[in-house]
Symmetry: C2
Subunit: 394 residues, 2 copies
Amino acid sequence: MALKFSERMDGIKASEIREILKLTMQPEIISFAGGLPAPELFPVEEMKKVSQYVLTEMGQEALQYSPTEGYLPLRVKIAERMSKVGIKADADCILVTSGSQQGLDFSGKVFLSPDDVVFCESPSYLGAINAFKAYQCQFVEIDTDDNGMIMEDLEAKIKSTEKAKMIYVIPDFQNPSGRTWSLERREKLIEIANRYNMPVVEDNPYGELRFEGESLPAIKSLDTEGRVIFLGTFSKTFCPGLRIGWVCAETEVLEKFIMVKQGADLQSSSISQRELNAYLDMFSLDEHVENIKRVYKGRRDLMLYTMEKEFPKEVKYTVPEGGLFTWCVLPEHMNARDLMVKAVERKVAFVPGGSFFPNGGHENTMRINYSTMPDDKIIEGIKRLGEVLREAFE
Amino acid sequence: MALKFSERMDGIKASEIREILKLTMQPEIISFAGGLPAPELFPVEEMKKVSQYVLTEMGQEALQYSPTEGYLPLRVKIAERMSKVGIKADADCILVTSGSQQGLDFSGKVFLSPDDVVFCESPSYLGAINAFKAYQCQFVEIDTDDNGMIMEDLEAKIKSTEKAKMIYVIPDFQNPSGRTWSLERREKLIEIANRYNMPVVEDNPYGELRFEGESLPAIKSLDTEGRVIFLGTFSKTFCPGLRIGWVCAETEVLEKFIMVKQGADLQSSSISQRELNAYLDMFSLDEHVENIKRVYKGRRDLMLYTMEKEFPKEVKYTVPEGGLFTWCVLPEHMNARDLMVKAVERKVAFVPGGSFFPNGGHENTMRINYSTMPDDKIIEGIKRLGEVLREAFE
């Protein structure tokens, strides 16, 4: 007899990106598919110093159980760093999570009952879509342009939706589009969220990676009623292998997240939290981030320059001011999943953009990552992709 | 306006144990409340060597994203270790999780729809009860004796329950009771699970910590139809601060757990997994476990000896052959929560046993941990607890 799974499992499937990533793990493939930070920039030597320090000075504590909320000195530092995006927070507003993916899962668990509706950007982050789907929600996609989510469309759809429940946004260097919201849209979102009493989940993994242009305040910094849940992570500014992210929310809301974390995994790694905290004491994360930005800006410039030369003129793409991704839109009749098959034959990979639309469609789009590959592979990979595209246009 | 949370949040409350643990973090308190391994046994020096090795030999890889399933060399080693409890498994049957608490959460997510019924031992592990409650299940408690869950009671209750869904058990040195199931009960459980097509979640954090008596095969090793999900952890045999546990299940079932993990936190720590794997290569975990067992056995003996002298004769307690806990039963009119208040005044702590019964009652019980405190504190703490108990009998 086959075991009977829960109803929610009907809606959960393996992330297509994870499957593609497996395919592209072959070393000869030039992959623009992942959202991986550049490993050659990881502070390996610093981590060696930091791990010796932590094990020498507080080894037993670092290997023992510790509070669900997180290591207090680290929570204090995270709260202070929130001022970079204009958020005033203290340690009581911070829960340390195992990456910001866990913050997404918890947001779903805390807010979503079956058939509740989540309003998200069209396109939106696949990992969030999958995390929320586990709570059997529905998605209503909101139109977007170069200034972010279109507020008139959001309000109209909230009004006409019966089980309107939560708004999910990635306002800075969005995954997958690379686009950033204007200040006006951010302010307007808070107005609408207040009017319709909706929680807002603000997912901000890339905000610190701005190469150019003016920094904009986080939506949470404009929050007047404690309804924004801000999700942060050290995965893109430090390294993802430690699995350290955080939730910043008003204490009454954060309390719910803490209870959920108790049941989910008790706590994030005691030793990773202490290592990160020691790194923040002993080294300059800001200097490290400057270095990352310099390298990623160079790669973005090189990629866009090469795309300009190699891609057919009909292919449109975004010019991100930061983050990890550019987003290509092909003529409507084209299908990026078919192109992906041909691309992998030429040993180059990207993610077909259709995966980022929870309700399907938009198969003429592609997400291309520029943070992972070194310069020579960016040139060679975009050349190969250009060939695939030009053939498709013939 | 107050934000509206999901329906499931009505049933989730903060773990009483975590709250008690906070209270007992004051260094002057002698705490028998936690389920903490003895920190002085943690392999701190070995971890220093291991962390240098991993960062030197594979630093970039250890700090990068890695597969959801876990680090393959570690999965191979875990699969091999499963033979210790009679389970034949290969790496495809192993998912690395962030502690076995995450395995409990995922078991709920994969199997439980609202109002589904979980059959559990009476008493059962509080952390599992809380993890499953998040999926809005109901609990039916099954009577237990010194040989484990009583199979006639289980079968009768399965028959009379409409939404019978899952069986949850801790057959070795149970938390909180310290009791171990007989072989006969283990075999009978598989028969019943097969007959009623139920998945069995076998939670085994303490199985390797047997001080005396004969090792018994895991229930999973008797599984003829791939319906047992075995949850393991390195938290009690190595250290909990790394947050490394695992799920062992048939590949079709494990696939569901892997999809759930993708949405929950993408993966467990890349660096912790590599450190643990290197430890298993460079040192002997078996020797380390022998050392832990020697120390815990000494503490158990000392605690039971002191309880015999200091506790009123009316107080009954279990004599565990391994694990971390003994379980005290007071006369029915007594209330351990009231005694806990008096105990904390005398700077000694335990966990009132009522918390371990999902449907309430049994307030005349106490869980007492013997693994954490050194000998002098065991003697002093049990003396103080004896005073509290003797006063309560006056």
